[in-house]
Symmetry: C2
């Protein structure tokens, strides 16, 4: 059994969604200056780095992030390899993706994962799930869907994909780095900060297998 | 198997360490105002609520939080009941606490846990580990120690306890709420945000058992 950390490191140079503020981290006390300890503060969008979306992100009457059931966030998960030539997860692509019957949690490993090792700017051309792909996924008994860039939905076309999946109560896990993980079955532990009344939360996420 | 959430909810009215800023959460886009989605920002000390301390918090040459080994943060853990009459975890108290041989992770359930249900202000009189208690713990093969208030060390006497435990590479998990958890053995998943070069990080923490 090995623990795979699929979380992005949160730092001021992490790419963020256009319009979101960059991560701010500042150390406010310093042992070398005579303080008894080192203390830092952090400020960021709740959609920074590896994070989850709660239904309230796109559905104004939806659940907020602290109310997401741990039973959806923790459990068996499948890492599904998507060919590097694929630009969009459409219904047609997903039908051929060999998602196991009964899967409750799926993480799509696309060419996006390779961005995390080398790209320090936001990549508009990331692979994402189309509206008809979301409809296809919403018909299955999924509890969590993970994508390896900062949104499940294509850049500039966010609403339909998010609404379709969030309306079904599916947790959306965004910004995982799957570059070091082989396709297959794992145990997922996706633990977002328990932020009161929030539309999302940054998370530390590991796969064990 | 049940999942116990032992994390505090992070909100602006969560008690924080004296001198730390209160948690700031602000929603910056609003669906009812015509935005396509709801988005929030958060700002806080990295020692807010349920969090871990990295060695760098009290040791200027120590590891920062993103470098803590997941193998210390995840694994079997014991919740140890401490009688409500106990004010301090001294070496003498700890010697009688029946910590199982071979335990790598221990979480002390003290009267502090009851604060989380009812107290909205910082409690200076919380139960904590004395300097000689830390020396006693440092002689065992522990990888993680959890306490149910915002510091492992007594108020106003932080340095010796922290330095002794952090020098041994023991992860300090602070601010867990054990009020709903019975003493015994569990599997711990303590997943702090992967904050670059930080002295600590807020965490979501669950026990499974």
């Amino acid at each position: 059994m090995k623990i795979y950390d699929i979380s992005l490191t949160i730092s001021p140079d992490l790419p963020v969604w256009p319009g979101d503020p960059s991560v701010e981290m500042k150390q406010v006390t310093f042992i070398p200056k005579g303080d008894s300890c080192n203390i830092s503060h952090v400020a960021m969008s709740v959609h920074t780095g590896t994070h989850v979306d709660a239904p309230y992100h796109f559905l104004n009457e939806g659940k907020t992030v602290e109310a997401l059931p741990l039973e959806a966030l923790v459990g068996p998960a499948y890492v599904i390899q998507v060919h590097d030539a694929v630009d969009r997860l459409t219904a047609e692509v997903l039908a051929q993706a060999e998602i196991p019957d009964g899967a409750e949690r799926v993480l799509f490993k696309t060419r996006n994962s390779a961005f995390w090792g080398r790209e320090r700017t936001f990549q508009e051309g990331f692979v994402a799930i189309t509206a008809d792909g979301a409809e296809w996924l919403a018909k299955r008994d999924l509890r969590l869907i993970g994508m390896d860039y900062l949104s499940v939905a294509p850049f500039g076309d966010a609403t339909a994909t998010h609404q379709t999946l969030l309306r079904r109560g599916i947790v959306l896990l965004e910004g995982v780095n799957l570059s070091e993980v082989q396709p297959g079955r794992y145990d997922l532990y996706c633990l977002p900060l328990k932020l009161a009344k929030s539309d999302g939360a940054p998370a530390r996420v590991v796969l064990i297998g």
